[in-house]
Symmetry: C2
Subunit: 314 residues, 2 copies
């Protein structure tokens, strides 16, 4: 079945490409490969392809070994695929709202026949009029910012290089603005790539500076947020809650593992999700269409196409 | 405690009103009452107040007996309080996204240590690029429409009298447009008052006309949607899912009851919520401030203030 599905996906990709482009999948790549689609190519495989000009890592960001291998081979252009930015941004909003409204707990209570939350003091939050801080203003962050505006929130966003003060109603800041921005934030939405600069960026100092009763949402990479600091801030109730799609530990080779050293599943004010934010019903066909479009643009050397800055990692 | 809380709420209300306005709560109202705040005033109580000029029903919409009593007393102006429109609209979005992303099920799986959804084909929906139909374009519907735009959806809205074709990017239609609108809708968000005109408006015909795999959200009143038709459309899988904050049956005098004749709790594609959409942490102070503002405007006969059209019911 997996192979059948793969064949179907390849057919979608092939249909998006000019007839003279040959698509191969798996096995030994032929020597005339110009574009390699691989998230974790070995250094040897990269050196074995004399015609290779570009590598597509078919998601957002570069795994550390891939980044190292590509950093040492600057003749290779590197591209990411952002086909799932909308789905990921929507997951961020789903988590934000589920935390703010207590959606998961209400559903559970009502399925057991419990109307009682209707008659108890409510601990839900209203978002309209509150302030959101969006970390990262790429394909995902822009969408999250726009959706927060749609909820009537004030929106600040941080990007590495903020050349303008506003994008529409979104106020843009460089990372140097963060110490002040934490203090005015009721919701923090992490949409940054995992890089040396972003690792642990949301640490104890940041979490203690956020407004009392703030909500933290992470749909980017676990490592951007300090695990213990977040757990303590949730456990103590200083934060209202958190929505987490990304984690610090992942299963390897199908072996189960806890997502964190800390028992987030024991906290009532967390909404947990197993890193599926970018995935929707028709992810694979969409990914193949986006990949086809990207490869077309690589092959025609489209000057508007942004390559990954390997030193930065995105 | 309840009395202490009540006293605190009354203090907030009093602080919002001019000094010459006397506020009383419960007991026998004095004969010179001009404004009565009551959701379910008896006909006798209305007739016992010779100075009475206005009745505030302190939420959105009129209960049927209240409507009848006020219809027979056209000398009384009637007002609703829309203090919780933002919270209710946010609940609609929370339900829409929780259904689209499977948020409740993912949280449950992951709390049991289950990473497996990460490695299974995903049944989540992407909303960006899809079409939302917002039924009702009052304080709640406008906010829901704006939030759906923020998610990158196309938004159509239906109001009783649509005097213009667009409000910003929201396309407005009169109810006569509904037969065509159902057919192009991926998400239906019910934000209508319960009136004779809206009862059962979303029936079998509407639910069968929606696009395959549509999502239905109701934060208005259960009676606007036909109970059995919705249950069947969810059970058959023709609808992707539904998010329901409002129901067909409510507990009376604290006695438990099922929210529907049908077993919605047995459906995996429903997110349930016990009619708490409009309620947030600081609902009561907000309600008191909004009530104070409304009473000020009633007393100074503000020409911009919209009274309830009792014949229409909102």
């Amino acid at each position: 079945l997996a192979t059948e599905a793969q064949a179907a996906h390849l057919a979608v990709l092939t249909s998006c490409l000019p007839g003279e482009v040959e698509v191969t999948n798996g096995g030994e790549p032929s020597e005339d490969v110009q574009v390699l689609v691989s998230g974790r190519p070995s250094p040897e495989s990269l050196d074995a392809l004399p015609q290779l000009a570009a590598v597509v890592v078919p998601w957002a960001g570069l795994p550390a070994p891939t980044r190292d291998a590509l950093f040492e081979r600057p003749h290779l252009k590197v591209f990411n695929l952002h086909h799932n930015a909308a789905a990921t941004a929507e997951t961020a909003l789903a988590l934000l709202l589920a935390v703010a409204k207590g959606t998961v707990g209400l559903d559970g209570a009502m399925r057991k026949g419990g109307w009682s939350p209707r008659y108890e003091p409510r601990e839900a939050l209203q978002l309209e009029g509150k302030t959101a801080l969006v970390l990262g203003y790429g394909e995902i962050g822009k969408r999250v910012a726009r959706a927060c505006l749609g909820l009537g929130m004030q929106v600040n966003a941080v990007k590495r290089v903020a050349r303008q003060a506003f994008d529409g109603d979104v106020a843009l800041y460089a990372p140097s603005g963060l110490p002040n921005l934490w203090k005015s934030s009721d919701a923090l939405l992490v949409c940054l790539p995992a890089t040396a600069e972003t690792e642990g960026l949301v640490g104890q100092a940041a979490l203690e500076a956020l407004r009392e009763g703030a909500i933290v949402v992470n749909v980017a990479r676990g490592s951007v947020v300090e695990e213990e600091a977040l757990f303590r801030a949730l456990e103590s109730g200083r934060l209202f809650g958190a929505g987490l799609d990304v984690w610090w530990h992942y299963p390897k080779d199908g072996e189960a593992c806890e997502p964190s050293r800390f028992n987030f599943a024991g906290l009532p004010n967390v909404v947990m999700s197993p890193h599926v934010g970018g995935s929707v019903r028709d992810t694979e066909p969409a990914r193949m269409r986006a990949l086809g479009e990207l490869v077309r643009r690589i092959l025609r050397d489209d000057p508007g196409l942004r390559a990954v800055d390997v030193a930065l990692g995105y």
